[in-house]
Amino acid sequence: MDEKRVHTGRYFMMGNVACAEGALAAGCEFAAGYPITPATEIANHLAEKLPRVGGAFFQMEDEISSIAAVIGASWAGKKAMTVTSGPGISLMLENIGFAIGVETPCVIVNVQRGAPTTGMPTIGIQGDMVQAKHGSHGDYEIIALCPSSPQEMFDHTVIAFNYAERYRTPVFLLSDAFVGHMREEVVIPEAEKIETVYRNIPEPGTDPLKVKGFLDEDVAPMPIFGKGFKAHVTSSCHDEYGKRNLIDISALDKFVRRLSNKILKHKEEITLVERDYEDAEIVLVSYGGVSRAAAAAASQARKRGIPVGTLRLITVWPFPGEEIEKMARKTKQVIVLENNLGQVYPYIKAEAAHFAEVSFLPPKLVGEIQDPEDILKKIEEVSK
């Protein structure tokens, strides 16, 4: 990657700024968004830095047009992203479904804030977790990463772009105001140490009638615009060639299944978790900023002689059920921690409950991640 894009060095950097730096390092060329707290720092930083490498950030008239422009730019061959918070995602959902339907690589950053509705803009919660998976209509799979630190805001943004390009799909970065506004040491490596991926495209000069640009579970090459592929890209039910079919149920079945299977087939290589539960009788399962409190509690518990481990989901979607089952088989108690009232908990419980007792510890105050002291109390309670 271009050295101008990678600002190698050691910084005390805000998570949102690190996200923008990650986007630059990943090769982002086009960004569009609408101002919203607590995501604005990403937009501001991209607006300043993207033009220096030939790209640009565009402030659109709303979030609907932001994601639309991002999808358009992606079909024009650009690596593209949008940045927003929950209210913006709510507006984007129809077009996120569009991006999934026509297999468009793009990165969607949601710096989650106090919700529902306008809520409390500067407070971070994990309130939009299931929205990312189920917000748009219909069955689909999505990829979502949950950073827990400014360093990961950088690292995960790079991964998000790579996943988006590799699997031709929108990828969510589900951060929150707490991690987005957090400052911590961020190390940006040298350009050559950052892996970047660009989508496969059909062989230039291929007869347009022979381009199979859609619905391949192994990810079809993307017939991007401007290359003579004469791509017909419609979000209506279509076949491998992009040809619309609005009448055969079997075509719809293929459309739905193949889009989902494209992600599920590659779940193992997509899934990222942090496992630290060897010999643990109690495992704390969490993601994002909460996982740091979980790690603190687990280490204190171990000091007190209670065998507590942790499983941290870095990719929450596609849901890593196999990882949950593997963990649950080895332990007795599972405590799920989220900064919400239990959004991913039912998914975890469904996978783990056959093998272990599963319980949920909500934050004392929604918006403030669980106090390790409270987690310890819960650990002592379940270990009795």
Binding site: F30, G54, I64, V70, A76, F225, V233, Y241
Partner: protein, 286 residues
């Protein structure tokens, strides 16, 4: 034996076997005017990316035009087109969609991009009704008309002058014709394609199946005759009072002007920011 082939057949996607338009629909006239303009300019379909939304008119380029086509969600084609144009500034980007798509659900994208004056051609096929869903009232349906969602007659004021809206928003080129003016329409599309800026063409187009039946304006031929009868040139219209202009359709090219175009402005900004050219904007700042 040589097969007799339509001169514009080469512009049609080879896998397409038939049109989806109802008998008498104006969309065919609009489609042909677009292709005539492209052919007349000596351009190739590979010079274009077509974008459409939801509704009958959106089906003009999708799937019929043998080019890169993005068929998008309802109301948003101009917003998608924005990203495409920024990504492929050398291509001609053309949006073809209906009045419901571009003016009702997508109205703000139309206004904002006319304001930006981003180079693209937007052809708004105005049939005054929601045809595809079975004849519901549109913001362009005249007051009092009974539609499937207004069985006692519409009770809303309606958009009589979409072109006026786009002019006010700041577009470089704005014209209005009807499907009874295919030659004039073709000429305006040619100009629109070549315009450095946001070029908007409103085409009043007959929907005999939904609109014609409801309005009692009859079949396609009668509707076209009605268009002809009611149309009046901009020049002639200036001589008439507002009362005399009631129920008339003012046709012609309203605006054709040169002003800063957004893609060029962005390119200039990028050159400044990346240090390719001397920074001039910040010079006055203390």
């Amino acid at each position: 034996m040589n097969e007799l082939v339509h001169p514009y057949h080469c512009f049609i996607r080879p896998t397409v076997t038939h049109t989806t338009f109802c008998p008498g629909c104006g969309d065919g006239t609009v489609a042909q005017s677009i292709l005539r303009a492209i052919d007349g300019l000596g351009m190739d379909m590979d010079d274009f990316v077509f974008v459409s939304g939801i509704g009958c008119a959106a089906w003009i380029p999708s799937p019929f035009f043998n080019a890169d086509v993005l068929h998008t969600t309802h109301g948003r084609p101009i917003a998608f087109a924005f990203g495409i144009k920024m990504g492929l500034p050398d291509k001609k980007v053309m949006v073809v969609s209906g009045d419901g798509d571009l003016v009702a659900i997508g109205g703000n994208h139309l206004i904002q991009n006319a304001r930006r004056n981003i180079e693209m051609t937007v052809i708004c096929v105005n049939n005054g009704i929601y045809g595809m869903t079975g004849g519901q009232a549109a913001p362009t349906t005249p007051m009092g008309v009974k539609t499937t969602t207004t069985p006692y007659g519409t009770f809303e004021n309606f958009f009589e002058d979409i072109s006026g809206l786009v002019i006010a928003a700041g577009a470089s080129f704005v014209a209005r014709w009807t499907t009874a003016h295919p030659r004039q329409l073709t000429n305006s599309i040619k100009k629109a394609i070549q315009k450095k800026g946001f070029a908007f063409i409103e085409v009043l187009s007959q929907c005999p199946v939904q609109f014609g039946r409801k309005m009692g304006t009859g079949n396609a031929v009668q509707m076209l005759e009605d268009y002809k009868k009611r149309s009046i040139s901009i020049k002639e219209a200036k001589k008439l009072s507002p009362e005399e202009l009631r129920d008339r359709i003012v046709v012609g090219e309203f605006v054709d002007l040169d002003k800063p175009e957004m893609v060029e402005e962005v390119t200039r900004m990028i050159r400044r920011a990346s240090g390719e050219v001397q920074e001039v904007v910040d010079a006055g700042r203390g």
